[in-house]
Amino acid sequence: MMSSTRWRVPFPVPRSLLPLLTVLVPALLSAQDPLSRAFDLERRGSFAQAAEIYRGVLQKEPGEVTALLGLERSLTPINRLPELLPVVRAAIVANPSAAPVYSIGLRAYAAANLLDSLPHLVDLWARAAPGDESPFREWAASALQRRDRPMARRAYQMGRERLGKPDALAAELAQLATAEEDWPAAAHEWVGAVRQLQGYRSSATTALAMAPAAARPVILASLAMEGGPDAARIGVDLRARWGDPVGAFETLLGILPKPLPQQLDVLQAFLELTRLQSSPTYLLAQARTLEALADRWTNPPQRARFRLDAARAYATAGQPDPARRVLGQIAADPASGPAVAAGATTTLIELLVGDGKADEAAGQLEKYRSTVAVDDYLRLRRAVALRWAQSGAVARAEQMLQSDSTIEALAVRGRIRLYAGDLKGASDCWREAGPFAGTREEATDRSIWLALLQPIQPDTLVSFGLALQLLDRGDTLKAAQSFERIAAGLPPTGGGADLHLLAGRLQAAAGQVAEAERLFRTAVVKEMPGTAAAALLELGRLQLATERRAEATRTLEEMILDYPTSALVPQARRLLDQSRNAVPRI
């Protein structure tokens, strides 16, 4: 780099001068200082020539560190590093206070496999630089390069003794212990490292978090024995990562630092950990952390925003009571801005719908209509309507959607028709709504129901609607029994087989293995090959899940052989492979 800028001509060169330059430039290059010339040669890959120039410089000035480093760089790629040894010895004599000389020496002696000489060299370096950890760190690094962990540990421990500091080189020893899966030692050293430098906390948590499940209690116990806020913080972070974010949060509240800004920093860092997963436990921990932040935050709009996020997290975690409590705090806070108020209203109405309080939700929605965005308003109206229909108030639900001409409303209307037992009306609405109304999951759900309705002859089956209402209200067992009763009244090819399959799936989901098996077998009707194949696959899956491999094998073989063109055959083959341990069961 240096030479290329040095020889760039800073002005346009007349063409007539070019021949002259071709003669002059090499001459100028040869006049360049030797270190630059050697560096140029290195860049071109002429390592042997570069090494000769560096060696020449060092003959004149044995302690010249730049030349020594250059010589090391040049000899390494041509596998001639041991040639560095006499040069290093001369450099140490000439420049005994230069740390890089010792560092290069360590690498050269290690490369030459003269390991016995390393302690003496480290000793010389340590005397030249008292209080410096580098000699021991470099010694250990050269040992680790040879994968000699015992020697590396010896180097670190010797450094610790010589420096007289019990926490010296703690991060290095911690990494060594982590690599060796010596978890108590790793926990001890990481705490030491964090005490020295808070920046190590993230490395400590990341390294210890990799421990297998069996080692986790050992690590937490080791951290508890260490004591102090640093060990406690590492323990909290680890518990949050290992699936106990709520317990970790409770511990964290007890060890928060006194100054408020630091409290906020700690809580915000913990909040990020709770966002690693979206399970109810993590959402609950997230909600509680957000609440804790809101309680400590002095800026009113941000405080209200934290509370709104906390309420939403509580609601998503299935905790409506604390969600309502926090929403109440937002309402009572005069400093909450209009956006937060609208968000709070939306969350509150969602909570009410989730609780089945559709009337109250409808009242709130109309009361705060002016504060809620139009899209949210329409979405909430559809949610309220659906809830009414689920509880049997079909006419009221349909009336609520009268003014909504969106395709989402059409899709909801189809569901409401189905609750009323109007199978044809439901199918018509869903076909009209098409595949893009609502979320992808909702569209898939509609397709499944449409396929189920297709073979059923009657246009209206009130009992079907009532069974679906039960199902959507969460009463799976009763819904399964109702669908089975309907199936019994229908011809197998006219929806009977499909409804038996549905009832079987519901029973299986509810853990009723025997009932599910009976229903799956009933659904195997030769004249309905698609349904029969699906029922046999479900039966085989259930048998495999209950460790009845021989039965599962027979069922799946029957499915593959009797329905070879079914689209489900690849799934059956895979299960069959799993049942005979031919592929891993993941």
Binding site: R146, R147, D148, R149, E180, E181, D182, E557, I560, L561, D562, Y563, P564, T565, V569, P570, R573, R574, L576, D577, R580, N581, A582, V583, P584, I586
Partner: protein, 426 residues
């Protein structure tokens, strides 16, 4: 007609639905194509193997549609192929005559397969089924095998087997030099304990001595007429152990004494199966055994990148054995690492047949040779569908790789011992 083709599955009279897939009256034979028309290449070997197990006869059509198999068109075979998802095509007697005429032209041949080989896999009793490519593919294809280890090998237990597979065993007795990177790991401690226990029980002073004895038993198995197939580090260390009779090539942590500094000079390569004049790695701190392996995966400064290897083409009539071993629907296959990934050509004996190599590289991937009445095949690398295989990686699910050309090479080795002896000309 191929299984799973549209229109298949139509019920025909009283036949079960799956028999309706082929025209029973006109198809005494089935062809299992092994080109891109095959829906599960690996399981096709299993279907053929089970035909032989049932006492049936099969034929291997070398270089015809990727090395296809002709099997009887009986109910059991049709059922088996349908369950396995293996594509099959009905072959009438007339069509078979045409096929045979085709096979007489070009570089093709038909090899009769008669007796299913009795298969043994050399593995410690507690080995995970997912840790060995051969065990995995045998399980997937549904080919029966027994597991044997040092006690069985030592008591001449190999005599009842036709085919023996070795995988990543270290026959130098140095625990694959895992001490360097995994010291303290519980699985390594268990491996050491188990090996020491067995060595002691068999009356050997240490593990390296016991493994050398096992290596010599394996050599004798081949000499007597056995078929040996080895992968990964078993290839390199088997030959090192054979060449090191009376020479200490094990580090002090394995046998209590350091490696003989003159070991490389003292090795007797005439005992080895495949290699000669290799340079032994004398340092216990370098995770490599010798310069036999071209890739040196665990040596940071020597490690070579992965490329792709190319299968050689042999004459089906003059060299049926190498031809069987390279049957595939792909002739260029992505390479994959193992503790021993490849074999430096410089270290190969002149009698060795190279079956696959990386064009332009100094190493071979897949080699074959003979010893006494038997043959051996070495295949470098650990898992053809997990190129960077690391300890602790999740197991390979072969149902996601039913067409794996790398795994096909393993199964070629399992089936070729079934070929009628007179056909083995090389």
């Amino acid at each position: 007609m191929t299984l799973g083709a549209s229109g298949a599955g139509v019920l025909r009279g009283a036949w079960p639905a799956w028999l309706g897939l082929v025209d029973r009256t006109a198809s005494p034979w089935l062809l299992l194509p092994m080109d891109d028309g095959q829906s599960d290449h690996l399981k096709a070997y299993g279907v053929t193997f089970r035909v032989l197990q049932r006492g049936g006869r099969a034929e291997w059509f070398l270089n015809h549609r990727g090395g296809s198999f002709l099997v009887p068109g009986d109910q059991a075979t049709i059922r088996d192929a349908a369950l396995a998802g293996v594509s099959s095509e009905p072959v009438s007697e007339g069509l078979l005559i045409d096929l045979r005429a085709q096979l007489k032209q070009g570089n093709t041949d038909a090899v009769p397969l008669e007796k299913p080989p009795k298969v043994a896999v050399y593995a410690p009793p507690n080995a995970s089924p997912w840790d060995d490519a051969v065990t995995m593919v045998l399980n997937y294809a549904g080919i029966e095998f027994d597991k044997v280890w040092d006690a069985e090998v030592g008591s001449q237990g190999l005599k009842k087997y036709d085919w023996l597979h070795l995988h990543h065993e270290d026959f130098t007795g140095q625990y694959s030099k895992f001490f360097l990177n995994y010291s303290g790991a519980p699985w390594l401690a268990e491996m050491v304990k188990q090996n020491q226990r067995v060595a002691k029980a068999l009356g050997y002073p240490n593990v390296p001595a016991e493994k050398k004895a096992v290596a010599n038993e394996i050599r004798a198995f081949v000499e007597r007429g056995g078929f040996l197939f080895a992968m990964c580090t078993a290839t390199e260390t088997l030959d090192l152990a054979l060449a090191a009779t009376g020479v200490d090539i094990a580090a002090a942590y394995a046998d209590g004494t350091p490696i003989d500094p003159e070991a490389a000079r003292k090795l007797d390569w005439s005992h080895a199966l495949a290699f000669r004049d290799a340079q032994l790695e004398l340092s216990p701190n370098v995770p490599a055994f010798s310069d036999i392996d071209g890739h040196q995966v665990n040596s940071l400064d020597r490690r070579q990148p992965l490329g792709a290897f190319k299968l050689f083409n042999f004459s089906a009539t003059i060299d049926p054995v190498p031809t069987m071993l390279v049957q595939n629907h792909r002739d260029v296959i992505p390479d994959f690492y193992g503790l021993t990934t490849s074999f430096n050509k410089r270290t190969l004996k002149s009698s060795v047949t190279i079956l696959a190599d990386e064009p332009g590289a100094p190493w071979a991937k897949y080699i074959h040779g003979e010893l006494g009445q038997g043959t051996w095949t070495f295949y470098g690398g650990h898992d053809p569908e997990d190129p960077q295989h690391q300890i602790g990686d999740p197991p390979t699910d072969l149902s996601l790789h039913p067409h794996s050309p790398g795994y096909r090479l393993i199964l070629n080795n399992v089936l070729f011992p079934a070929a009628k002896k007179r056909e083995l000309k090389t």
